[in-house]
Structure formats: structure tokens, C-alpha cells
Amino acid sequence: MSGAFRIPGAGRLKQAKTARFSFDGQSYAGIEGDTLASALLANGVHLVGRSFKYHRPRGFLSAGAEEPNALVEIRRDAARKTPNVRATVQELYDGLAAQSQNRWPSLAFDVGAVNDIASPLFSAGFYYKTFMWPKAAWKNLYEPKIRAAAGLGVAPDQPDPDHYSARYAHCDVLVLGGGAAGIAAALAAAETGARVILADEQAEFGGSLRFESGAGIDGQDGFAWAQAAVASLKAMDNVRVLSRSTAFGYYAQNFVGLVERVSDHLQNPGRDLPRERLWQVRARRVVLATGAIERHMVFADNDRPGIMLASAARTFLNHYGVAVGRNVGVYTANDSAYAAAIDLKKAGVNVAAIVDLRDNPTGPVIDEARALGIEINFGRAVIRAGGKLRVSSMTVQPKNGGGERIIPVDAILMSAGWTPSVHLFSQSRGKVAFNDETKRFVPGAYAQDCVSVGACNGTDGLSATIDEAYAAGAKAAKDAGAKVAKGTKPKVDASESWSRGMLGAAPGAGPNTTVKAFVDFQNDVTAKDIRQAVHEGMRSIEHVKRFTTNGMATDQGKTSNMHGLVIAAETLGKPIPQVGLTTFRAPYTPVTFGSIVGHARGPLFDPTRKTAIHPWAEAQGAVFEDVGQWKRAWYFPKAGEDIHAAVDRECVTVRKTAGLFDASTLGKIEVVGPDAAKFMELLYTNPWEKLEPGRCRYGIMLREDGFIYDDGVVGRLAPDRFHVTTTTGGAPRVMNHMEDYLQTEFPHLNVWLTSTTEQWAVIAVQGPKSRDIIAPLVAGIDMSDEALPHMSVREGRICGVPTRLFRMSFSGERGFEVNVPADYGQAVWEALWAEGQKHGATAYGTEAMHVLRAEKGYIIVGQDTDGTVTPNDAGLDWAVGKRKTDFVGIRGMARPDLVAKGRKQLVGLKTKDPKVVLEEGAQVVADPKQAVPMTMIGHVTSSYWSENCGRSIALALVADGRDRMGETLYVPMPNGTIEVEVSGMVFFDEKGERLNG
């Protein structure tokens, strides 16, 4: 048994396979092939949701992706809860569990429905007006309450356990939409041998042939033809057929995003299947065959469950074998609703009456309906629907007023006509044009290599559609480079008639009425709201849209746009094309975050870079910090040590004996070539030509504007070879900066640049015992002070492997940086560590490195500088070649503001209370008694506790800082003002004797 409203012999589903499911805890039976919607309707369930704002009871409006009402939550397990699933799209599987949304405590009795009674409070733009006073209530009352009440459905609260895959595809012709038009276009394109992709959002192809019982092609029923045609397409090697695949976005240069729903329709998807697959397709030509969407009639209480589009009722009957009621009424302004009435009548459903707004329409469907004995009322309107949780009657009145008649019904099928689906065309930046005769917006000027065919192009009738689509498919293939082929165009035997309908509010919902005649069901926008928006001053349709929320959210105006536009145009007294359509946005229907993210989550979200020495640090229990993509050892705590204790010990040990530090993340660039020195002269402030091979220099790189961009020690290995180091974070941009100048401004220089950051592992050994630790392992390098003075570099071997050994210091102690090929990094580190252990050396992390360099006043670019600091500001004038005539930044540095008085200069700060450590970023003022807001003259850039100095130390950028030596300044903080004294930047070993100590 699959429901009391299933009609034996109707529809295409095989009765054999029963699927059990639940809705709000109640068990039901459906048939495999059902959607959740058709299965519920088969069981007589119409009430499935509560509306967004007024919490009005809602049922199914449609049978497809345009559904604005029937949004449910599908629960597979605790983590797999998907909100806002359109029940008309969700395929049924055995065991499916769905819940209604936006109601409490139950769907039939919802406390939030009080909003419907209090609706004057919630009219258009209410949130701009109602919750303004008192001011304090916003933060404590309105905002949290509105937040709790707002939104559709409930987001899942656990990580998504499913996985999502992604595919890129290229094709000659991409056909979007698998109805009669799309299939015909795909057939024509495929016959030429062109690579074709045909995609449709539904499980089965056929589009409106699913419900059009009067369509016949090539001697078959229309839907059967569609299945046969798609089967023949699937059999072709040059064709890919994607079902359950929604083209959600049309981007530049025929780049289309589609989401394929791979396993949401399966009972047990299995772990190897992705939930969804994102297709990113680049097509030479795109054929848009996206069809049309039926519009509802805008009349009072047109949202009662049981009131739906005529085409939806036909789909439920002709495809799923389900009657949407036992006694249905029809309200229409065009022919297509007659077909629904005829189909239902023939299936044994009573059709109480057809109410047609038109005065005296004629045509075969009208004759057929009359011949079946259906009551037809021309020139009349349904001005009201009765019932609350389910429609119970329709009130009929002559359209220009007069006596009312109440007709009892349990469903109303409505049709105001068809709106071409120009969403994707509009996303492609095409401009729609208004056809005044048919009152439709259809594709006008194209912006990309695409073509619209069939109903989405405003083409009426099956024959005309197939003719147009077949020709367009063949032309698209030819334009994409395929050869012309002689194919066979499908032959249309029978088709249904189309006629235009009406737009805007129907009688009874016109100006000066206060009824709730819904234009946009999903956003609870009524005809009155649109008029009110215009009356309150909204002139642009874009403003009307935002003020009322008409056509926003997941719906994107599929059913509401044209009605809303026409009501606004009437109220404004302007013709429709002058008011214009709002812009259609991607996505066409909602897209999961999972499908966009794909595999790029967790560890795959962003690459993690680890040095060769990382495993050793990990084994030692190092705590790591993220520096860009790098994991760097931050400190190495011993048992019982917190960060402060560990860093204090590491800092003291380096200055007492020695320390080992993994500096591998430093950026490294090899600058090679006959003009290498000339290139260095142009890219750095320093002079390089006279630097002898084997010597090093601290280099500063500026941008053209004269501000510090990067710094690092550069070793000259040979007249034509420099080993350049950069900051850890700056390596890629420095490389880009160098390449830019080399390729475009100084292409005459014969130089090659190679990034070698990951080729070298770098082990810094710093401290009085550093030479004693390294020397036993080194071969081929004289380690004496005479042969290897501070700031020099030698090539030789260490532990038997090649090394570039730098004598340099970022701690102020005698120091070395051992560069070895990365593959040997850990082995050499372990050998150095073993030597170090004999001398009581420590491993130290980035925190101790920072403290040690700050004790010496060595800056860190990006911490002590911020992109507005010149070499002079940083006290680095000594590093600027005075006799140089050109380098990047030389002119920028001379700009008036950069040489003016009052610039912020880098200085040291000592707190008057040595135990107080300043906060980095804290502001500095000259007079703490001044009124707020105070004049700030600088800020703290680096601040640490220095165990070696026995006090806190800080660096700061302070206006005219170097003229303020010894001055007392103030750092106002929430807990009180801190007194500081301006000092030099060197806090430890001012004379620098320890470099050779």
C-alpha cells in the first residue's frame, strides 16, 4: 500500500517496490521513484512547512526545483542533517527520515503563527523600522531574539562526515536542460562527432514531457521518446550525460559550475561514493534549454496547503500516479491549467469548477474540458481561499465585482502563465529583452558564446521548440569546429497548445486591499508589501527587492519575479521594461558548502610546510607555531616548564654556552650570472660590487616607494654568485619582486634567479661555544677568526656532506649558520646536537630567537616595520650606499614626507618598573593627563621579558624618537598608565664584543 491518493494505473512508477519513510516521526509508505513530495501527497499529506515570517501553514506549490514552501530537513544520522531540502526534489529511499522546519512545538500548532495575527508589525522593511527603540534593547533583546527566530532551517552542528569530489571537463557543446529542447540540441550536436555534455537537474530526463500527456515524438509518447533518445546519447563515446546535475552558475568564458547529486537518493550510499560531485565545465558553446516555470495566481490566501501550480498537479498525476485531491478547483488565466483539469477528470478525480479570468477564450482544451462535463466559469476570479491547514473552498466572483459564490474544494490548481527561465542566460551577462506582445522577458543581447532554445527562449509549442533546438545544436557543434553531419531531426506527432497568461495581482488583491495575496512564498512577500515599498519611496526594482526581500534567498524569484515586477510597475505607473528585471544571481538553486570545498578541508585545506629537522623537534616535545604555511618550533619545554621558564632557560643558555636553532624556513634565492652584482646593486640599498667573494653583508630591500620591503644576510660565493636570504614569510614575494624587475625593467642584465629555500636545511649554532661544537665536524674550512671572521661564508664539508658555512649572528653571540642539502638536514642536526650536548648547549625555538635578537636591537621586517618605515626610520641609514646613483626605492625614499621632521623612528623603551612587560601594539603618548582621545606619538612593536638583562625590553616606533633619548613617555593601558624611558635599541652587549667572544 503506498497511499490512499495513489491512482491505480496512473503514472510511471512500478508499484512493486515499496519504500518506507517517516515525516515528523510518522511512518508512511511510498514507491521507489517517488519524490518525498509525491510520496507524502499519495498519503494525503499537504501540510509540510511553516512560512518564514508569518509561520503560515504551507504545502507544495510545485513539483520541482522552484519549490518555495516544502523545505524539510533530511536526517540520515546525528551528523548528516541537511536543512532546506526541497521535498519536491528529494528522491525517496527506504528509511528516509524527514522533519518539518520553522515550527514549534508542532507543524499543526505553531506558536510562531502569532506573527500572522501581528502581521502589521512585520510588513515590508519591518526590520528597518520596528526594532529601533530603545537603543539598548537592540543588543540585549531584539538582536538575539531575531537571530534565534530568523533563518530557514537549522544548520548541522557537527562536522560533515561525507566527502565530495570534483571534476574538470572540457567539451565542444554543453547542453543545460534535458527536456525536449535540450535532448534535440544534444542529438544534433552529438551526430557531428562533437564532444557533448548534456545535463539535467532531475533524476530522469524529459523536463515538461513528464507531465505533458499530449506530447508525441517519433511515434512514441513524449516522455518515452526522451528516455530512448537519452539512452542513444549515452551509448555514444563523444557524449557525457549527467543526470541529477544542476548547472548553478554561469561564469566567464563559458565556464559553468554544476553540482551532481551522487548519493543523496540512495538508501545506503557506501563510503566510497561521494555525496556530491562538483563539475567545472569549459565549453566552446553552450546551449541553454532551461525551460519555463509556471506562475501562480496572486489572490487572497493563495498559500493554503492544497493550492498548487497546475503543472505540479499534472506531474504528480501523470508521472507519480498521485491525485492531489478528490475534489479540485482550477483557477487560471491561460490554457495549460485546462490540461491539468482534463487529466485529473479522466483519472477519476472530481473537478469542481474551472475559474478562468479570461472573458471568452476558445480552443481545443476548452472544448475538451467542456465535453468532459467540467463546469467552466469565464471572466471570473477566485478572490479568496478558505481553510487553514488545508484549503477547503474557493470564493468565486465576477472579475469586476458582484455576487460571491463559495465552492468547496480540497485542492486548487492555478496557472497565471509561464515565465522563461533566463537565470543562467542572465548570469552569463546576457541582457534580457521584454517582448511586449507575450509580456515575457526573453534572451536579448548575448555576452558569451551561447544560445537559448525552447521555452527559456520564449519559443512556444513542441514542434517549434524541436526545430529551433535541433538547428541550434548542429550550429553550436559547427561553430565549435565539428564537421556538418546529416542527422535525423525528431518528428513531432502531437503537442499541447500554449497561450499567454497574466501578470501581477488578480482581482481581489489589487491596490487598496489588505489581503495576504502572496507573490513570494518563500520570503512571505505579499502584493501589498510590494506596493508599500513603492509608496515608501523605493523607485528602483532593485530597491523594492531588497526592501521587501522579494525574489531573494534560495528562491531567486523563480515564481515571484514577474508578479513582483508588474505590481511595482503598476504602482509606479511605468511600463514594465522601464522598471526592468533584477539581476539573477548564482547559484540557481542552493549549493552545499561541501561541494564547493571538495577535498580542500582539514589537513588538505592549505599545505603545511615542515623542515627537514621537524621530526627531531617533534620527538623532543617542541611546541610549534604557525609562520605562514610553516610549522616552526616555538620553544622546547622541559618537564614542568611553561613557555616563560623554557624561553628564559633557552636565552640564558645560548649566551652562556650555545644553542642550536632550526633556521631552515628562511627564504633563499640564488642570484647567478655575469651581471649578478649589478642586479644586487639595483635591488638592494647596499653596495655589492666591492663585496669580496667569501664575505657577507646585511641587505635591505625597498619597494619603489622607499619603504622597507625585506631584509636578510647575503653571502657572495663567487664574483657571479650570491646566496641571498630573505625573511621566512617574505620569500615568495621577494622572488616575485626580483623576477619582475629582472624581466621587465632590467632585462639587459644577464642574471638567473633560483629559489633554493627548500634545497637547504639551515642550522644556526649560536653562543660562545658555537665554534667548539661545529669545528670537529667540519672538513676543508679554516674555522679560525682570521680565516673565517664575522660575516663571511665558506664552502666545504660537514659530516662528510657539502655545506655553505656562514659565520653570522642573529643573537649577538659568536655564531654560525650551517647550510646543508635538505636531505642531510636532520642527520647533520643530530651530529651537531651530539657535539652540543658535550658543552651543555640547548635547542631553542622562535620565541627565544626573538628575545635574543631584540636584546641586540635587530629588527624583524613585518614586526618592527609595517610597510611605512624607511631605512632612516629604522636607524639603518648605514646600510644605504651613499654613493649609489640608482636602486629600487632611491627616489621614493627622497619624497618630501619621507624626509620631513616628525617621522616615527625605531627606538628602545625601558619601563620604569623593570618587571612590567609592555604589550606589543600598545600606544605611546607624551602626556598621560590629556583628554581622550589622546595624541598618540607611537606604538610598541616588540616587547619581551629578557632574563639576560634581568628586565623587560621593548622596541617602539616613536615620533622623533631619536631626539627623545632619556625622555619619559607613557603607555596608557586599561589597568593604568605605564611609565617608560626612551633608550637606544641595544639592550645587551652594546659594544658588540660577544660576536667574537
Binding site: F255, Q280, A447, E704, E739, D740, Q743, P747, D886
Partner: protein, 98 residues
Amino acid sequence: MLLIRCPYCEEERPELEFRNAGEAHIARSANITGESDDDFEKFFFIRSNPKGIIYERWRHMHGCARFFNAVRDTVTDKFIMTYKAGEPKPAKVPGVAK
């Protein structure tokens, strides 16, 4: 995503492989220290920001790594042509009325 033709690779490749590098045909003076403040301002800060045809630099970052020049329409985002760095600004741009 745009498709961009790299004039060095002689192939259309997806936008992901490229980085924009600002406006093209703004040459750094060989005698930059001799520039007046006004000239330096024009060179370094002022950009044309047109609606329509723009000449700009791109780098085939994740490809051949070369900088090159492109003509693009800022209204449609369409690339009209690309050419190698150092080549003169094209006198005629295909499909664009002068």
C-alpha cells in the same frame, strides 16, 4: 574563471595559473633620481583605471613564470590580446574602434 593566453607558452590556460601585476607600459625612468616629485607621483601612484580597454601586466606564475602584457576590457573582463613584455603597446587592438 577566465582563460588567458600566455604569449610565451602560446597556450590558453586557466586564470588560476596567473597573477595580475598592475597596469602596463609604465616605464621606470633610467634617471629616476632626476625625476621631479610630480613625475614620480605620476609614475608610481597614478593609474588610469579605465572603463573599457586596459593595458595590464600579468605573470604566468604557475606556468612559465614570465611577465607579459594583456589588453582586457574591464566591462566584460574579456582578454582581447596578450603580448610579450617589452613589446610596444599595440597600435591596433582587434575589434576595438580607435
